[in-house]
């Protein structure tokens, strides 16, 4: 391992350790529920790294303390209401504690709400936006969908233009 790589690995390890359970604005239970919601919203069926590996909830925490701060209270209230639904429908007290199929069923009940729309939006942002904002770690989101573009590239760009160049039209 080269020195820069070792330093980077150490930095990542420290970040991960520092994050253990500590969020800027989210409580641990709010973070757990949001992470569970995110995992149901983007759900790779082939075992590929998903929202948990991508650190989506850490992106959400930073965004709700930054550019999406207007959404913090509505998200909080939405999570509160979601917990209410969980308590009504089961013996559990948190969304995160439900089984996956129960989570999915519950999300279908609220999928047209503004709250769900906000969490979906933050999930997509945390999964697919630039890793510098705290999500999309190791470009997990980009790798999931095959986005491999970060710098200069040259034709051919895809199958059809390669074929066009080969045939001359």
């Amino acid at each position: 391992m080269s020195l820069p790589a070792a330093v980077a690995t150490w930095a990542t390890a420290c970040t991960t350790r520092d994050e253990g359970g500590s969020f800027r604005v989210l409580t641990a239970s709010e973070a757990a529920d949001l992470e569970a919601m995110a995992s149901r919203i983007i759900a790779p069926s082939d075992g590929a790294p998903g929202t948990a590996e991508a650190g989506v909830v850490h992106f959400m925490d930073a965004a709700l303390d930054g550019p999406a701060s207007d959404s913090l209270e509505p998200v909080r209230q939405g999570l509160e209401e979601l917990s209410g639904r969980v308590r009504t429908a089961s013996d559990e007290t948190s969304f995160a504690a439900l089984a996956e199929d129960e989570q999915i069923a519950l999300l279908h009940e609220i999928e047209d709400t503004e709250f769900f729309g906000t969490v979906r939006y933050l999930t997509l942002a945390g999964m697919f936006s630039d890793p510098s904002h705290g999500g999309n770690r190791d470009e997990a989101g980009w790798r999931l969908i095959g986005f491999d573009l970060q710098g200069p590239t040259q034709p051919p760009f895809g199958h059809y233009d390669a074929d066009y160049a080969e045939r001359g039209g």
């Binding site: 983007i42 936006s129 200069p152 760009f157």
Partner: protein
């Protein structure tokens, strides 16, 4: 924000003060300073140089880093008709930075054609539309389109489908992408004439600038190598090199001042700290875009100009046109990778004017594109079929399938001028400076809606002919309006009773006030207005400079 270079005192009366440094303002600044005049350009936003632009979708696309919105203190309101109360909504999109929207736009540079200047004569009156001929025609503008090609920097391929041109393109077309190949092959199969999309992006070095290296962060982003021909890279440096032009950033103009004789004397603006200044000038040029220009005129009312400056016709802010759109996305067997390189590489213009037998008036073009601007978050947000699941396992699987294997065919269409479609001053909502917010009143003319539907139908046929295995689409007629094409709100004309500026962009009511930007357009063209805005700016600057030398400004 201090940069080295020419500085003028606000007390010094410069030849021209230009409000806005975008597509038109940047051209004006360069032309008039090169011609020997002293120029101060006042720009609301900061200066971001090419190397500072980032591949950051969250910042640029979702947090309005360049375009600004309510969060940055610039709320807008919207209503469909004049009897409604407008509600908060971001409708008008324009960038706040040196170079304006020419920095982040998609850079499609279609010339207008003869018919675009003479639709009223050729088509006749249309009920509910305030259609008028331009006071100038394609021939008047052709030399300036050619100057745009060469001096701004355009890549394309001249051919029989082009309007007549006096000179070839300076740069060959950009390399075709897979969506372009799919559109070209499908178009030919259906008997159309697809051709390389002309773009203000360099395919080879030109005027000392580097060509595109296909990074993909193009539409909605600033170009990190300066290959996209924004005025930030193509015009502003040349203006500053004269030593006669100052680009003053973070300067928000809120009033054009006039004297007792009804002449403009300068403009009043706030600097970045909110301190008010006044820049004196022999003449004032507004190139603030089709939304901000009319707002500034309306804010500049006085006892002499009670309905707003230059508004004796009542046309300031009216006849707002956006250009219509349709989106059609298709899934293909092999990798398309539409997210690479520039937005569009092929276009079909066989429906430039729809057959009148269809029963409505309109026209446009269909180009090949990356779905959802080609960027991952935007794609995930809305480019998988909207009638299918938008979250969950099936959604995730479709996203994986579609992202690399889809192409979009996009319709860009006419928008008829309607008197009641407008930008005006909101009576209650204010921006962070305390100015009335921009209020948009807009409903599509029925012909515009039919035109958008027509284009979606043609694009779906093209998708089928291209071999798409699944297709979904929609068009703007079903969506709330919103656009970065802000056109027609200070229209040009010979008659002071029905237009705001004359054929040389001089305000009918104020002899030393000139207006040149999207607001000058009399008709909308077929969906790509920026090249025409810039051709108008080259032409206007030439005439304004000549008039100034004759002492007629």
């Amino acid at each position: 924000m201090s940069r080295p270079g020419t500085r003028f005192q606000t007390s010094e009366t410069v030849d021209f003060v230009i409000v806005g440094s975008g597509a038109a303002g940047g051209v004006m600044a360069r032309e008039l300073s090169v011609a020997g005049f002293t120029v101060v350009v006042l720009e609301q936003g900061p200066r971001i140089e090419s190397a500072e632009f980032r591949h950051d979708e969250w910042l640029y696309k979702y947090n309005s880093e360049l375009t600004w919105g309510a969060r940055q203190g610039h709320p807008q309101t919207f209503r469909r008709t004049e009897d409604e109360t407008a509600e908060p909504a971001d409708v008008l999109a324009y960038a706040h930075n040196v170079g304006g929207s020419s920095v982040h736009f998609a850079a499609n540079f279609w010339r207008f054609r003869d018919i675009d200047f003479r639709e009223r004569s050729l088509v006749g009156p249309i009920e509910g539309a305030n259609l008028a001929d331009w006071p100038i025609g394609y021939d008047d503008l052709e030399p300036y389109y050619t100057r745009v090609d060469w001096e701004i920097g355009v890549s394309g391929l001249a051919g029989p489908w082009d309007p007549p041109r006096s000179r070839d393109y300076p740069c060959p077309p950009m390399p075709v992408k897979s969506p372009g190949v799919l559109l070209e092959r499908a178009g030919k199969a259906l008997g159309y004439q697809p051709y390389p999309a002309p773009v203000a992006i360099l395919s080879q070095p030109h005027n000392g600038r580097a060509p595109c290296y296909h990074c993909g962060f193009c539409w909605g982003f600033g170009c990190e190598v300066g290959a996209k021909s924004s005025t930030l890279v193509a015009m502003i440096p040349q203006a500053e090199a004269t030593g006669r032009c100052e680009i003053r950033t973070l300067s928000t103009v809120h009033r054009v001042e006039t004297d007792d004789a009804g002449r403009a004397t300068g403009v009043v603006y706030w600097d970045g700290e909110g301190v008010e200044h006044r820049q004196a000038a022999r003449a004032v040029i507004l190139s603030a875009n089709g939304a901000e220009t009319p707002r500034l005129l309306l804010l500049s009312e006085s006892s002499r100009f009670p309905d707003g400056l230059a508004n004796s016709s009542g046309m300031v802010g009216r006849n707002l046109m956006f250009n219509g759109w349709s989106w059609t996305v298709g899934l293909f067997e092999h990798p398309v990778n539409a997210f690479r390189s520039i937005p569009a590489t092929r276009v079909i213009h066989d429906f430039y004017s729809i057959d009148p037998a269809e029963g409505f008036y309109g026209g446009g073009g269909i180009d090949s594109r990356c779905p959802a601007d080609g960027t991952p978050m935007n794609y995930a947000d809305w480019a998988v079929p909207l009638d299918g699941p938008q979250w969950g396992r099936e959604y995730t699987d479709s996203l994986k399938e579609w992202f690399t294997h889809s192409a979009a065919f996009v319709g860009h269409t006419t928008s008829l001028p309607v008197l009641t479609n407008s930008v005006s001053l909101d009576p209650t909502v204010r921006d962070k400076w305390g100015r009335p917010a921009l209020r948009t009143t807009y409903a599509d003319h029925p012909h515009d809606a039919r035109t958008m539907e027509f284009f979606e139908e043609r694009a779906r046929e093209l998708m089928d002919a291209a071999g798409a295995t699944r297709v979904w689409g929609d068009n703007g007629a079903d969506w709330p309006p919103g656009s970065s094409h802000l056109l027609g709100t200070c229209r040009m004309g010979d008659d002071p009773a029905s237009s705001v500026v004359d054929r040389y962009h001089r305000a009918h009511d104020v002899p030393n006030l000139f207006i040149c930007d999207g607001s000058s357009l009399v008709t909308s063209g077929r969906g790509q207005p920026t090249m025409t805005i810039q051709a108008l700016a080259f032409r206007a600057a030439e005439h304004i400079g000549e008039a100034a030398r004759r002492g007629e400004v």
